[in-house]
């Protein structure tokens, strides 16, 4: 029983942390319809910034905030490249992702792996010391859940503001944004800034769990984020009580659960990617099958 609880706990921990990134991907991919590849670069950016700051003794909470800001700046660059220099969405993401590799290496002073074991992180200092002993094993889950839910609530609040409404309109109907004499370009930049900020924050929190940063950790992050967004929104599409951010967060947990279950069942890791593709397809198809009662909608993925 202990084992099952332990594995469930891991699934939830990772689900919540990667969920923060997935919500960022949701903003750029689903709200703005912008396939943002810079995520592969901003995730390790968050890690590297955190590692550099924490190993030089900066407060871990400050490190999280700085990581968010750095990610946001990188996202802003993606937006500027796309909007101001008129580079296509895919390419501007690729450019930033490529540039981030070097930036990350500069931040880590040229080393690919930066360990910061036994330093203060958000999981072993500050508010955590107030937790009773019995909850110590649950601290990572508690903090990552608090972080993920906080990000979710802030995003929900933001999307309800005037700026948030314009952001949603930019993805759906740019003409409308123009008609109220606002610039859809600016909204795109704002959306990408938020999205990449969330991604870098997820990287920062993850690096504090493993207490090390790895420059190569960005590989596959876009796909993981997209998978969470699509699994979450496809499965829960008809549940209107759930906000999309909540769907994405649940999607992220489900994604990690699929991986963990597959591994526990002894599926060789060589087949993990194939399994993910199958689950991905299943989520997409299930959505269409469930929608049969309604008139057919062309999927927008």
């Amino acid at each position: 029983m202990d084992i099952i609880i332990g594995i469930m706990r891991n699934i939830l921990e990772e689900g919540f942390i990667y969920g923060i990134m997935a919500m960022g991907v949701y903003i750029s991919y689903s709200v703005l319809h912008f396939p943002d590849l810079s995520v592969d670069g901003t995730f390790p950016l968050g890690m590297c910034v955190t590692a550099a700051l924490i190993s030089s003794g900066v407060n871990p909470y400050v490190a999280c905030v700085v990581a968010f800001i750095c990610g946001a700046c990188a996202g802003c660059v993606t937006g500027l490249l796309h909007v101001k220099l008129r580079i296509t969405d895919l390419l501007s993401g690729i450019l930033v992702m490529t540039a981030m590799w070097s930036v990350n290496l500069v931040i880590t002073r040229g080393s690919a792996v930066v360990p910061f074991y036994n330093k203060d992180t958000i999981f072993n200092s500050g508010a955590v010391s107030l937790l009773p002993d019995g909850l110590y094993a649950w601290r990572i889950l508690l903090i990552s859940a608090v972080a993920a839910i906080a990000v979710k609530l802030i995003l929900d609040l933001y999307l309800k503001t005037k700026s948030g409404l314009l952001l949603r309109a930019t993805g759906d109907n740019q003409q409308f944004v123009k008609s109220v004499s606002r610039d859809p370009g600016t909204m795109k930049i704002i959306g990408l800034t938020i999205g990449n900020g969330c991604t870098a924050l997820a990287g920062s929190i993850l690096s504090q769990v493993s207490e090390s940063a790895n420059i190569n950790s960005g590989t596959g992050m876009v796909v993981m984020g997209l998978a969470s967004v699509i699994i979450g929104t496809s499965i829960f599409k008809r549940l209107s009580i759930l906000k999309p951010t909540a769907m994405v967060l649940t999607g992220s947990v489900l994604y990690r659960a699929c991986l963990a279950v597959a591994m526990q069942l002894g599926l060789p890791t060589n087949y993990l990617k194939l399994l993910m593709a199958v689950i991905f397809t299943f989520a997409l198809v299930a959505n269409n099958v469930l929608a049969k009662g309604k008139k057919y909608e062309t999927p927008e993925y």
Partner: protein, 354 residues
């Protein structure tokens, strides 16, 4: 997906109600399937404990790689020699992280959650994942093929790790390699090196190599790359600077693109020296190579002594393995019109092995 934020209240019809019910059913079924699978998993793990206690050992290999495969093979052999046989008194759960950090972390965490009796990390990133996952549960971690465990932060010092972690470290025999290059090419002056800037092992090997090179009268011409696609161009650059040979370290990226390096060197008629026997089989002239199988065997023996409770991992010194054996490739030697130096007469011919 456009309609996520639209308020569905206005457009709700009778149909969407039944749809909603159906999708809720789908969700419930999904959850049921998951819980079912979990119960099955738990049953699996609880069986097998009849009579003697079977120790669970989790092994994480960071990426598919011939040297690391050899490590694992040796590890199993080492355990066997010490009386631990997979399927009898131990159960080995071998997982390959496919070169991704997120996989490696997840595997390690699941192993720690399953309360394994030991976690083994093959290659630096896997060892780091194992260490950070096992820290809270005080599960012993054994690593192998980690070139610099102190820099990776998983041991305090090589003599006394302090943390519940120990293992074996592969030290590339750079001096022996330089000596070998000098013997094969008595006239050579410049050695070209292609390395990946993001691989910590390669960077530290390069600086050591440069320090030692002067002693043997060599000058190092290096070209750093960041990805697989740059290896060919970097090799060409090095060759165009007039080097007399190229030397490889255990750089994963360069080794995986060995053919590009060989191609560039072949064009100029110069040899490439490898860092392990696999590379020599594939067309390098010669190398002083570490036997990764025996590295693994050594690791397996250390693991066995921790499992028996003879010593604690935190008190067991990290073993450095730097014994190397020379190997050469006779068909490459012939093609380049070189003669086998007298002192390497007894070396193994990798061409024959292939």
């Amino acid at each position: 997906m456009k309609r996520f934020f639209d308020n569905p209240a206005g457009s709700k019809s009778n149909k969407s109600n039944s749809n909603k019910r159906r999708s809720i059913a789908a969700v419930i079924i999904t959850v049921l399937i998951f819980s079912l699978i979990f119960t099955m998993v738990s049953c699996n793990q609880q069986s097998g404990g009849n009579g003697t206690k079977v120790l669970n050992i989790g092994v994480i290999q960071f990426a598919p790689h011939p040297s690391l495969d050899n490590c694992y093979e040796g590890f199993v052999q080492g355990l066997k020699e010490a009386g631990f046989v997979d399927g009898e008194n131990i159960k080995i759960d071998f997982q390959n992280a496919q070169g991704e950090m997120s996989n490696s972390d997840m595997i390690a965490k699941n192993m720690a959650a399953s309360k394994y009796d030991m976690i083994v990390g093959i290659a630096t990133p896997a060892a780091m994942s194992a260490y950070s996952a096992a820290k809270d549960n005080d599960i012993p971690v054994i690593f192998t093929a980690v070139s610099d465990p102190v820099a990776a932060g998983i041991v305090k010092s090589l003599e006394r790790p302090e943390y519940n972690v120990t293992g074996t470290s592969d030290v590339l025999p750079l001096e022996a390699q330089l000596k070998m290059i000098r013997a094969f090419l008595p006239e050579a002056r410049k050695i070209g090196v292609v390395y990946t800037t993001s691989e910590p092992n390669s960077v530290s090997h390069l600086s050591q190599f440069r320090e030692l090179a002067g002693k043997y009268g060599f000058e190092i011409v290096e070209a750093g790359v960041t990805s697989a696609s740059e290896v060919a161009a970097a090799a060409m650059t090095v060759v165009s600077k007039g080097v007399d040979c190229i030397n490889n370290f255990t750089d994963n990226n360069v080794v995986n693109n060995l053919s590009s390096v060989l191609h560039a060197a072949d064009g100029a008629g110069i040899p490439v020296f490898g860092s392990e026997v696999e590379q020599v089989k594939n067309g390098c002239l010669a190398s002083e190579s570490i036997d990764y199988v025996s590295l693994g065997v050594e690791t397996g023996k250390m693991a066995a002594s921790v499992l028996k409770g003879e010593t604690k991992a935190s008190e067991m010194a990290v073993k450095l393995i730097s014994d190397s054996t020379p190997v050469y490739n006779s068909s490459v030697l012939e093609r380049l019109g070189l003669a086998l130096p007298a002192e390497y007469e007894g070396a193994e011919d990798a061409a024959a092995a292939k």
